[in-house]
Symmetry: C2
Amino acid sequence: MNKVWLVNGAAENTVNISDRGLAYGDGLFETIAVRDHSCRFLTAHLQRLTQGCERLGIPVPNRELLTSEVEMLASGVRHGALKIIVTRGSGPRGYRPPSKPETTRIVGVEQTQPHNKDLYRKGIRLRICNQKLGINPTLAGLKTLNRLENVLARAEWDDAETHEGLLSDHAGKLVSGTMSNVFLARNNTLCTPDLSGCGVAGIMRGLIIEHCTEQGIPLDICALSPKDARQADEIFVCNSNIGIWPVAELATERFAIGPVTQQLMAAVCASGVAECAP
Amino acid sequence: MNKVWLVNGAAENTVNISDRGLAYGDGLFETIAVRDHSCRFLTAHLQRLTQGCERLGIPVPNRELLTSEVEMLASGVRHGALKIIVTRGSGPRGYRPPSKPETTRIVGVEQTQPHNKDLYRKGIRLRICNQKLGINPTLAGLKTLNRLENVLARAEWDDAETHEGLLSDHAGKLVSGTMSNVFLARNNTLCTPDLSGCGVAGIMRGLIIEHCTEQGIPLDICALSPKDARQADEIFVCNSNIGIWPVAELATERFAIGPVTQQLMAAVCASGVAECAP
């Protein structure tokens, strides 16, 4: 199926070349899992998009309008990925943002295949990427259109047996995967990197943090290193599309799918991510 | 005049939404001054574009084809700005680059007004931006489409009396202006920030470095701070569109247009940037 796009409400598959989304990556995006004709965690995605717009000074798209477009596109899809892009729109040449930007609101959906169940049952293989993430608190946490670091990190491997790569920042601190957040369990405490310097604050990461509170799982949001990852009792990565993938291999280390990971997979499954079923 | 664009050789003013230039800023650009129907420093711009493509793993556009498109568009313009964008093209969802990317090659031109001569004669007012640049050696020097930091820096001021802002990296080192490179003269030595961590290696910066060698002006490419800028004998900013703008004011400091700046303005003028005439 060809991807269906709406640009400011009209069926189109192009944007103007002068759009600042293309020129400077001056915008944000969300990728939302569609299951059974409905967007999963839509409220959380729209909330992050709103916060991102506010932090970048981009007018927030009308929530009702955006929701209706999203729901219309999702209604035709059983299993897919829906993307929202919001940019600061077109404007005169130069970095200076227009004083009254007319944003570009893009919504598109495509059908996808479910992930191989073995990734949930047996776990995935992680690598450690050479590419580093630049530290930038102004942009940290946001899913901006400036993603070249992620692209270069993902370009580091080509084998189908490696499913994700871990990224550190330029100070050597562990941040995330290329398309996921990462959690480590050690001594029955769960840890995940603090994202105040860089990285994307994932919707699934937020949900897992909530589950930890509800279920009394001790959680540290703190500074971690790739070495901490190698020495962890359990590791998993997460995003809103996959839910949780346990990590079975990282470099030369092997990991079992331990009790904390299993408990959280069950919780995430109960929250609507059926593919995480234990 | 409406902007004229060529996309892969065809007259169009849009790109596909699935283009990775929009999705991830996965591409590069050049902005080239057009004077008297001709592109200034075209060879240097195409060389930087080529190096950028090679570093990002994007196929280099055919030089003859690109040159012919650029020259065709420039031929219709007396005074303008020509932009080249090269992206990794469209591809399937996800950060992973396609193994055989079909790049998108965009060329556009617009007429511009000459800058006010006072900016060259009396100098400009600089500010120091709060926004910092993330350190990323993989991308340092390149003019990629990931420019949100520059956008946010340029959004910090709105008054027409301030012409440029200075940016530091997260380690506190001076890097550049938002749209220019910066040089300081102190004790008859010219200094400019080392750009191995971040910043764009400007065409005009490169030309000035060459002029220093030819004219025996001592030059240090080194670590500098905003304090060094405030304490300099002379400051100027440069890019290939403006040539050199002497700095008259930075924060509470005032600067004369000193002998090193004047010498280099004359040299840059002689290299074809007539607006830098002393």
